[in-house]
Structure formats: C-alpha cells, structure tokens
Amino acid sequence: MAKTADLDVAYVAKLARINLTEAETQLFQKQLGSVLEYVEKLRGVDVSQVEASAHAVPMFDVFREDEPRDWFTAKEALSNAPRQANNLFIVTKVIE
C-alpha cells in the first residue's frame, strides 16, 4: 500500500491528463494524503488467516455464450461524434 510520502499529485494528474494549478496541487496533496493516512489503518489488521481475493464478493465464472447479436448501426454509433467522415470517428491526428 502506498505511503503518504509516495503520493505525487502532480505525477498522478499528469497521467490522468488533468491540469492543476500549483495551489490545487498543494491542496490535493494534503487532502489525498489524509485519505491515504486513514486507509493506512488497515495495516494494523491481522490478515494472516485471510485468503487473498481479487474481488469484493466471492463469486467466479460469470460467462456468456458466444452468440453474436447486432446493436448499433454505424449511424447510431456515430451520433455523438463531434467529427466524423466515411463512418469513421475523426480525431486529432495521432501517431505514437
């Protein structure tokens, strides 16, 4: 679990594509820091007898069978697109 000192709000904001002012960065550093501090309490609990789990409820194997069905038409799919052409969503040019 992350220690409060490990929290770098500016880095997390960069990863999340959020622009923060210096004042905001300091404010959130403090606020999120105290949230993490609160969660730190879990470190005090004895979990040696508890099996690790990847999900909140002990449930497994929720599947659907491989049966296709149609949903959106291309026109419907594109109805929210700010820009479109030839049935494609058009975005700012990206080449990674």
């Binding site: 999900h55 599947f63 049966e67 494609l88 975005v91």
Partner: protein, 484 residues
C-alpha cells in the same frame, strides 16, 4: 569480434470467436466501419462487460496444446492509458494472474525457411514461453493527412497474447517459431492465424551483445511486420544494424523501431524516455475465473498434434518419415491424404501422387489444397486403376491432367479417351503371335540368349495394340512363348 543475438517475441492472436470478448457484437473482418458496436465496446458510461466463455476456453485449449500450466484461478485487470483507439481509457487485460504460464513451442525442421533447413543451428529446439493471457483488442486507426479515423468494429474482440522467453537466437528460429505456432493454432481451431489479415501480429525484442559480455544488450523493439518472412527480414536487418553500431563503438539505447518492408529497413519510432505507467488494477466489473471446469471442456477438444500425426502416418500408412512430415505440415493436406488413403490398397502410392503430381499441379495453377479440383476419393480411384493394371503409369499422368483440368472422375476419362489398358491375356497373346511371326530375327536372337531383343518385340506388341496392352503382361507372354 563475435556477437550473440537474443530475440524474444510477443505474439498477438485473434481468436476465432463469433462475438466479441466482453459484449455480443459480431466479429467480422471487413464489415462497414463502426457497424459492429454497442455501449460496451464504445465505452459508454454504465455499460458492463461480460466474459465470452468460448474465448476463455480457446485460450485454455491453446495453453494445453503448448504444454502450459493453467492457472487454477485467473483474473482480468485494467491497463490504463489514453489513446483514441481505446474509448474506456483502459484496456481489459491480464496482469499478474494470466490464464497460462510456461509451456513451449517445438520447432520442427520443415518450419524453418526452405533455404535454411539444411543448416539448422539447434535441431529439435523448443522455444519456452513466459505466459499466455487474454485481453481485448483495440480499435483500428486510419491515419490521414491531418486527422485520424477510428473504426471500433475490432475494439473489444478477443486477443490472446503469447510471450516467449528471450530464447530465440536467429531470424530463422523466429521464422520457425511463428510457423510452428501458426500450425498449432490452426490445428487447435482457435485462430486462422493469417498474418497478412492481422489475425497474428508480432512484436520482436532483439538485442545484440559481444560474446564476452554476460548481460544482455539494449533491448530494441520492432513493430509493423505483416508476414512471417517480413519478421525474418526485419530481424536480419536489425541484427546487422546493431552489430555494425557496436563495432563502430556506438552505444545502443532502448527504443522502438518500425519495419518498412518495401525499403527493407527499420526506422526509429520512439525512444523510451520514461517507462509507461499503466497503473494496473483488478477490474471490479469482472469476477475471477476458475479453470477446473474449463480444463475438462478444453481437454476434450485437444486435437491430435502435428508430431503425433507424423508418427501415426508412418505407422498406419507406411509412408516415409519425410512424406509424413510434409503431409502433417498442412492440416488440410493431412485431411485430404487420410480421406484418399482410406480406401487405398497402397496408401504410400496415394501419398506419392499427392506430394508430386497434385502439389505441383496446385502450385502451377496457384491453388491450395482447399480448392483442389480433384476430390480425395477421385484421386484414390485413379491410384486404384493403376494398381489393378487397368491403366499404365504413363496413361495415369494423362488422366490426372484431365481430372485436374475438368474435375471429371478417372473412370469416365479412361472410357472417353479409350485409353483403358488391355489386360485380356487372349488378346495380348494374339498381338504377341503377330509380333513374333513378323520379326523372326529378333525372336531367334532372344532364343539365342540376347535378352535385349525382348524389348524390341514388346515395343512391337505395344504398337500393334495402339499402346493399350499392359506392358508387363506382354513381356511375360512373349517370354513364355519364346522359351516354351
């Protein structure tokens, strides 16, 4: 100085399911853009993913075929990044609990490039795997002059990622690995694995280091190869480039390069300034998978693998081990052979016809075994006509050519062309008597011990019968008559 090359591959395989990984949109190549979409694969708020049972099964089938350990419990994670081909801003993938770990792919001799099959550095090599996991594919991007167009039909389709150990040592081994893997995927009916259609995609990590150096050289990743031979060419170029740089005393750095097949060079795409931070965490929308039930279903669907098929062909049909290798190399060819060999008295002869005449006819007509104009049963019939002496081997070639061109059955062609071989002893005897009477000198020569004279007389019998007499029978009868 000599150098050591180390190659590791990351192979992405499109699974042959009918619907997507986490929603029921159809999987179809070449459909109208964005026509196979729904709230889930477009990442609309509130839409929830549900796992495709068949995709998970196919991954377990692949894991079993490659001798992997199947995890008792596996889970899906979110890989977070921003890119327009991924509308949720995360890709559902598997991080620390993949479905399969370990395992290997055996490299068979015939899987190497043809020009390298005689100089295999490590025969019977097995390339060990790190893992196989399941994830969703991203959308397809089309880059235009000043913008990018996105088609989400491919977004969310099931994609299996196979990661090898850095245990491949030459471009030829990489070629053999991909060829062997592709063959196994086709055998297991989990993917068509056509690289040109993007059903199998491969990223190569390659590094070169001086022999005396223990630690690996700078890892350079190559992308954008769209054929197995392209992978071989790209690796050969890159090894030469890296070796040249090291010899000039340059320092190589970790970077990603693209392959331009037309020019035959790799080019710099980006350097790795900061490692990606994907902030993986378990996807709370999906529950973990237990493999116990899946294993049972998957085991029932493991086919006979190429290695076992080769051995069985040798034992069951008495074909040579080389012929068995070639037949088992292509699943369609193996199926064709087995259907044809089923009714054959000498399956070995059927194999010869397939591997010589049929394959060369197919290749000169640019056809594959799947669109072969001669059905396997018809080829079997032709071989049986030769066996029973109805037509000669030479006549059979003629009949075969006609069968290939017209698709007509052998018996019909034989009747139409009137080329049935004469095996009626009475008629041949009459021709033999004629030949002996008309050629007293050669007949006398044979009686005097000149064995070659028999061939002359046999030729006369063939002439008299207009080529229809069974030459073997004619020879036997002549000999009996002259000696008697």
């Amino acid at each position: 100085m000599s150098y050591i090359t180390t190659i590791g591959l990351e192979v992405h395989v499109q699974l042959k399911t009918r619907s997507k990984m986490f929603c029921a949109c159809p999987v179809e190549f070449g459909a109208e853009p964005n026509s196979h979409t729904c709230p889930t694969c477009l990442g609309l708020p509130g839409a929830l993913p549900v796992m495709n049972h068949e995709a998970v099964r196919m991954t377990v089938i692949t894991g079993l075929m490659l001798g992997c350990d199947i995890a008792p419990t596996s889970k899906f994670d979110r890989k977070n990044y921003f890119y327009p081909d991924m509308p949720k801003n995360y890709q559902i993938s598997q991080y620390d609990m993949p479905l399969c770990e370990n395992g290997s792919v055996p490299l068979h001799d015939l899987a190497y490039p043809k020009d390298a099959q005689k100089t295999i550095a490590t025969p019977d090599k097995e390339v060990h795997l790190v893992r196989i996991h399941l994830e969703e594919d991203v959308a397809k991007s089309f880059h235009f002059e000043s913008s990018t167009g996105i088609d989400f039909n491919r977004a969310g389709t099931p994609l299996m990622e196979i990661v090898t150990q850095p245990a491949i040592n030459s471009p030829e081994e990489a070629f053999a690995f991909l060829t062997s893997l592709k063959q196994l995927l086709i055998y297991g009916a989990v993917s068509d694995a056509d690289m040109e259609k993007g059903q199998l995609r491969c990223d190569c990590n390659v590094s070169v280091r001086p022999e005396a150096q223990a630690e690996l050289g700078a890892k350079i990743e190559i992308k954008n190869m769209n054929s197995i031979s392209g992978v071989r060419r790209a690796l050969a170029y890159e090894i030469q480039r890296q070796t040249g740089a090291l010899e000039r005393g340059e320092k190589l750095r970790q970077e990603t390069r693209g392959w331009d097949d037309a020019i035959g060079e790799t080019f710099l795409m980006r350097t790795k300034e900061s490692a990606h931070d994907y902030r993986y965490f378990p996807d709370p929308d999906l529950v973990p998978v237990k493999s116990e039930m899946l294993l049972e279903e998957a085991r029932a669907r493991i086919p006979e693998l190429p290695r076992a098929k080769r051995t069985r062909f040798v034992e069951q049909y008495q074909v040579s081990s080389y012929d068995a290798d070639v037949l088992a190399d292509d699943l369609e060819l193996a199926r064709y052979f087995e259907t044809a060999a089923n009714g054959a008295k000498k399956p070995k002869n059927v194999a010869n016809w397939i591997l010589n005449d049929l394959q060369s006819a197919l290749s000169s007509a640019s056809k594959t075994i799947s669109d072969c104009p001669i059905p396997p049963e018809a080829l079997d019939e032709l071989v049986n006509l030769i066996e029973s002496g109805k037509i000669s081997g030479k006549q059979a070639k003629e009949v075969f050519a006609e069968m290939f061109a017209s698709g007509k059955p052998a018996t019909k062609i034989v009747k139409e062309k009137g080329i049935e071989q004469l095996s009626d002893t009475g008629e041949i005897e009459a021709f033999c008597d004629q030949a002996i009477t008309a050629n007293p000198k050669p007949a006398a020569d044979f009686k005097a011990g000149n064995a070659a004279s028999l061939n002359f007389l046999k030729g006369q019998v063939m002439k008299l019968s207009k080529g229809k007499a069974n030459p073997q029978l004619a020879g036997e009868i002549l000999e009996r008559k002259l000696k008697g």
